[in-house]
Amino acid sequence: MLDVQGVEKRFRSGADEVLALAGIDLHLDRGDFLTVIGSNGAGKSTLLHVICGVLLPTTGRVRLGGVDVTCAPAYRRARRISRIVQDPMKGTAPSMTVAENLALASKRRGRTLRPAISRRRRAAFVDRLSDLGVDLTTRLDDPVSTLSGGERQALAVAMATLSCPDLLLLDEHTAALDPKNAERIVELTRAFVEESGLTTIMVTHNMDQAIELGNRLAMMHKGQFVHEVRDEAKRRARVCDLVELFSRRHVADDELLLDPA
């Protein structure tokens, strides 16, 4: 389904070069649900950006369903990849209405001169929102800017899943929400992914979430995958193990830093 091979990403050049991705190899089968954890600056968002085409890798290839998409523009990959980002302001068009945002998301190609919001589509939106348990059906004609962050993120979930993508990328998509709303959005995500068997990558700082969701878990550090568990091993993983792994990494780095050589 998704094949990332030897991807490196460097920002800037010369003295202040940043190696954000230092050789990433990743293979996801159809239906895989990978959760990714890692400290700030580990390169998690950069990896998702390279996959969806917002950033081009410095070296390496990205394949989607057997097709090399390394250089395909983001808008073209978006026909098959859905993405939800951390900031609720960024995933929706604020001055347009809820229904208009849903209409924008319900077709990813071949937009025509037909009215975007027909009566039938409105009904479909209402169905979809209530399927997802999102309480926005009475607010279809309100501008998104009048919604709360949690409501916007719920809308973003509805939009990301409306057109049945092949791959779903979630970048800390609950980080800006209060615990209760975060839980609801996670629940929404889980329900949808399970029901549709969608291939998914979810970046999170919440270890419980990372362990609870999905069949694979990977830890990123300094632009590399440093640890991965899946299936049975993942089910047995505990938060304390991960924390332990985490801190061992950091201790190792600190030692390197202190080393006079």
Partner: protein
């Protein structure tokens, strides 16, 4: 007085089409497009040349002007999206290039249309029973028709994607829209309307002049801002209506200024200065209001 008001309203509609063009770039795409100062004249120049040299139908001249404006807008869009020139500079470059091109089209800086059949002549003959308001009816009808077509367009799948391009570009890219093409398209549509308005104004006033486009962006903005502050709605139909209302109000205000302004020492040549000041004030009001509120709040 009445006939002067009629003239002001006629101008309000004729220039209102250009204001709709400015609305598309400024409000919908959020692209400060200066091409319009050139493309307005391009429309006037093409229509005038067609009328004087080939005796083309006045309405057909409008359509050709629209097409030429589309090309001009597309050039700005391509300079920006494909060559990476900043939005303002891309517009300025197009505007300057158009200055030379417009002179080429016209062959001289000024073309008189007094001796050819213009749209005004055709309309006044065809609708003579309507008398003095014949032209107004046609201009209002034409402008309103364009408004309705735009409204319908902005509710289509494609039109919605265009609006989203200005509203949240990163988001609409992730919904599969090629925003570069969208910007080129939006700029083309906008400048097409502006050029059409130029062609109308030239036929209406009986001449085309290479300098007649100076400040099109500012008068367009004046209409967009004045109308937008009177009719505050996010619905596209009301937004386009507000632009036309703004254009009408602006033209009536100009009419009064030109007629009675001398009482306070106003000259016709001051018009662009005053218009720009109005736009500046309208643009800074929100900032000033916010600053005042903060001050009051913190004390």
């Amino acid at each position: 007085m009445g006939s002067i008001l009629i003239h002001a309203a006629e101008q309000g509609f004729a220039y209102g089409i250009a204001a709709l063009g400015v609305f598309i770039t400024f409000r919908i795409l959020r692209f400060p497009d200066l091409t319009v100062d050139g493309s307005f004249v391009t429309g006037a120049a093409i229509a005038s040349s067609l009328l004087t040299s080939m005796g083309v139908d006045p309405f057909l001249a409008l359509a050709v002007a629209f097409g030429a404006g589309c090309v001009a807008g597309a050039v700005t869009g391509l300079l920006h999206t494909r060559l990476g020139i900043t939005d303002l500079l891309a517009g300025v470059l197009s505007m300057i290039m158009l200055y030379s091109i417009n002179l080429r089209i016209m062959g001289k800086p000024n073309i008189s249309l007094l001796r050819v059949t213009t749209l005004s002549d055709v309309v006044e003959k065809a609708l003579s029973p309507l008398g003095a308001v014949a032209l107004l009816v046609v201009l209002a009808g034409l402008t309103f028709l364009i408004k309705l077509v735009l409204d319908a367009f902005f509710r289509t799948e494609f039109g919605l994607a265009l609006r989203a391009t200005g509203d949240n570009e990163a988001m609409i890219v992730s919904q599969g829209v090629n925003t570069k093409s969208m910007k080129v398209f939006g700029l083309a549509l906008s400048n097409g309307l502006v050029a059409m308005s130029g062609a109308l104004v030239a036929q209406y006033s009986g001449f085309a002049d290479v300098g007649m486009g100076v400040g099109t962006i500012v008068t367009g903005l004046a209409a967009v801002i004045v109308g937008g502050s009177l009719i505050r709605s996010r619905r596209i139909g009301w937004m386009t209506a507000s632009v036309l209302v703004g254009s009408l109000i602006y033209r009536v205000a100009v009419m009064f200024a030109l007629r009675y302004g001398y009482l306070i020492g106003f000259q016709a040549s001051d018009l662009k200065l005053v218009t720009s000041l109005i736009v500046i004030v309208a643009l800074v009001i929100p900032t000033v209001r916010e600053r005042l509120m903060r001050k009051v709040g913190s004390c």
